[in-house]
């Protein structure tokens, strides 16, 4: 096993990987940008190296600086997390050439699956159904012709993309040109490549993905599905496992298809095959993510399988001691991504300092987070604060647990989507599992604070007005109860704020 691993990432996924390493007795090396000196991944790692400016291009995308930090620290392997360099085949190649193990699949597998057009060809070759669309990157003119051919609505997607960047849904011909321009521009700034392709948009589609894991000997297992249909701006917000929409027959079929795709590229590592599914359980290959997924915890909760630890073990040469039949699922898990964003203004990010934080905990609660009291959400990176995960024996119980846990969350200093998540947990369609990727668009009422809290808010506001002149003297922490012993009741019923 490795003695030391460098984590080429930040935020909660860096923390997740550092925790896995600590528990395995592996020393950890963090890297950080100017903006991240106070971040939790720096605090929790054994060592930390500064690698450049706050903009990702100057630090977390700076391959040379990261390799340099690995060499300086003596790390034998690099875990890339997700985003940044995780699906960059040339970085995986550089690691190999520097004698450092890249904790992920081969550069070749990344390259093949990283290009969506190649990936579709591979899937097609192993008889996996595909959504009709352009056969590859297209010019502006071709794009509009193909869009007309397959019929609106269509999706425009960045060839090099992922995570919803450079992706646009176009419902009518009139919007096509401007959407194409936006998609290319986003693709260029996110991936340095503005190629896009076009495909049919499936009405009320569900996003279902299969988690797979494979070792160097080619043992390839599927860890069942995740349903990730609740999305905003084409980014997942709520994920769950298992999906309430598929039969065990479909589950098995999807799992076997996923394993077939992985084997086609001699895949070795954890990976995810994403599918789009229509309302009749017909599924089509979307893409493969050749890395750990944001939403991997829900799979861990229902299987008891630690995906991150196994990625590290496989990279270190261990083989999976399980067979497919040893992988069983129990109960239901739900993940809510808590973002520093404002649902009322189309989910605009809300950077700032976490002035006060109280997180939910207790039975069946898992909080994968990188925030703490006093931590800072900068505008340089994804505004995800935490992944709140619940497990219970049924979907209904997991939803109730999530709703209750979200109500315990207190985050002051930045706006969050917690209220929106609470309302979604209470939504009748959501509870019944009637979800698809258009769910949020269809439910604008979930975005606004509910009027239910109006009276309470009014009382709090009135008290704050009445106490304006005393703010300064009241801003200290209350004295210890021990000291207040004698004069307790006066304090307990203080009539003004």
């Amino acid at each position: 096993m490795f003695k030391k691993v460098l984590i080429a990432n930040r935020g909660e996924i860096a923390v997740r990987i550092i925790r896995a390493c600590r528990e395995m007795g592996i020393s950890t090396v963090a890297v950080y940008s100017d903006a991240d000196r106070r971040s939790l991944h720096v605090a929790l790692a054994d060592e930390a190296y500064h690698i450049g400016g706050s903009a990702p291009a100057e630090s977390y995308l700076n391959k040379e600086r990261i390799i340099e930090a690995a060499k300086k620290s003596g790390a034998e392997a690099i875990h890339p997390g997700f985003g940044f360099l995780s699906e960059n085949d040339s970085f995986a190649d550089m690691c190999e050439k520097s004698g450092i193990v890249f904790i992920g699949p081969s550069p070749e597998a990344i390259r093949l699956m990283g290009d969506k057009i190649t990936a579709r060809k591979i899937a097609h070759d192993v008889k996996v159904p595909l959504v009709p669309g352009s056969d590859g990157a297209v010019s502006d003119v071709e794009a509009s012709v193909i869009a007309a051919e397959i019929g609106y609505p269509v999706m425009i997607k960045a060839s090099a993309g992922g995570g919803g960047k450079g992706m646009r849904l176009v419902r009518s011909k009139d919007d096509f040109e401007s959407s194409l321009r936006m998609a290319r521009s986003e693709a260029r700034s996110a991936f340095g490549d503005d190629s896009v392709f076009v495909e049919r948009f499936i009405e009320r589609p569900r996003h279902i993905e299969i988690q797979i894991i494979a070792d160097a000997e080619g043992n390839t297992l599927y860890l069942f599905e995740r349903e990730c249909s609740i999305q905003r701006r084409h980014q997942k917000v709520i994920e769950e496992a298992p999906s309430s929409a598929i039969s065990s027959r479909t589950r098995k079929k999807m799992g076997e298809v996923a394993v077939r795709i992985a084997k086609a590229v001699k895949y070795k590592c954890a990976g995810t095959i994403e599918f789009i599914m229509d309302q009749s359980q017909n599924f089509y290959f979307l893409e493969m993510n050749t890395r750990v997924q944001v939403e991997h915890p829900v799979t861990e909760m229902i299987t008891g399988f630690d995906i991150v630890k196994w990625m590290i073990r496989i990279a270190a040469g261990e083989n999976l001691p399980f067979k497919q039949k040893n992988i069983v699922m129990k109960g239901h898990a739900l993940e809510c991504r808590v973002y520093a964003e404002n649902p009322e203004t189309n989910f605009l990010p809300s950077p700032g300092v976490i002035e006060y934080l109280r997180t939910p905990s207790g039975p069946g609660i898992r909080d994968d987070s990188s925030i703490y009291n006093g931590s800072e959400i900068t505008p340089f990176y994804d505004p995800m604060l935490s992944k709140l995960v619940t497990w219970a024996d049924t979907r209904e119980a997991a939803i109730k647990k999530m709703e209750s846990a979200l109500r315990e969350y207190i985050v002051l200093g930045v706006k969050t989507n917690i209220g929106f998540l609470i309302r979604t947990m209470g939504d009748d369609e959501f509870r019944k599992g009637k979800i698809d990727t258009g769910f949020i668009e269809r439910h604008p009422e979930l975005l606004k604070p509910s009027a239910a809290g109006t009276e309470k808010a009014l009382i709090a506001a009135a008290l704050s007005m009445s106490s304006s002149e005393r703010t300064d003297t009241q801003s200290q922490k209350p004295a210890s109860n021990w000291k207040l012993f004698g004069r307790r009741s006066g304090v307990s019923r203080s009539p003004s704020l």
Binding site: E355, E455, I459, A461, L463, K477
Partner: protein
């Protein structure tokens, strides 16, 4: 003491009074016994007729934000005179402000350009995500304050559009 607030475009009157050492609140015809304790700066535990709530309270002049159950409620103290005003007519001169610290990716309209309601004016990027800001009125671009590549703060005026 009576206060008047606007929230969700509705006007509410609320009265605070002390009665035998107990704070009472009159609101919308109801009367409540209120007990509260400070937890930390801006954070309070309330018992309203025995019902428990923890609320964050942030006041800035006449505006009060209240954090409750994951939501931020925005209230505004209003005077008698303001209560009679109807909501703003969206016309005249409109400033397009940056909704957050961001970078200008593309300026879609120049000075003097005609714009339709909801037509795109400018594209900004923050946290690797692009947003197109649209015109709240039909009219003409009066001035453009920024250029592509500029880093802008929250509230920076980017363009001014006029309906005249």
């Amino acid at each position: 003491m009576t206060y008047t607030f606007k929230i969700f475009d509705q006007i509410y009157k609320i009265t605070l009074e002390e009665e035998e050492g107990q704070l009472r609140v009159e609101l919308d015809g109801g009367s409540y016994a209120v007990d509260f304790q400070k937890i930390e700066d801006n954070l309070y535990s309330f018992l309203i007729d025995g019902k428990s709530s923890t609320m964050g309270v942030f006041r800035k002049g006449k505006k009060v934000q209240v954090f409750l159950d994951g939501d931020l409620y925005e209230l505004e103290a209003v005077s008698e005179r303001e209560q009679r005003k109807t909501s703003h007519i969206v016309s005249g001169i409109q400033e397009i402000k940056s909704p957050m610290p961001s970078r200008v990716v593309k300026v879609l309209k120049g000075e003097g350009d005609e714009v339709a309601l909801d037509e795109g004016l400018i594209v900004v990027e923050a946290m690797k995500m692009e947003s197109e800001l649209k015109s709240p009125i039909a009219g003409k671009v009066k001035s453009v304050m920024v250029k592509e590549g500029d880093a802008v703060e929250l509230g920076t005026v980017l363009l001014v559009v006029s309906s005249e």
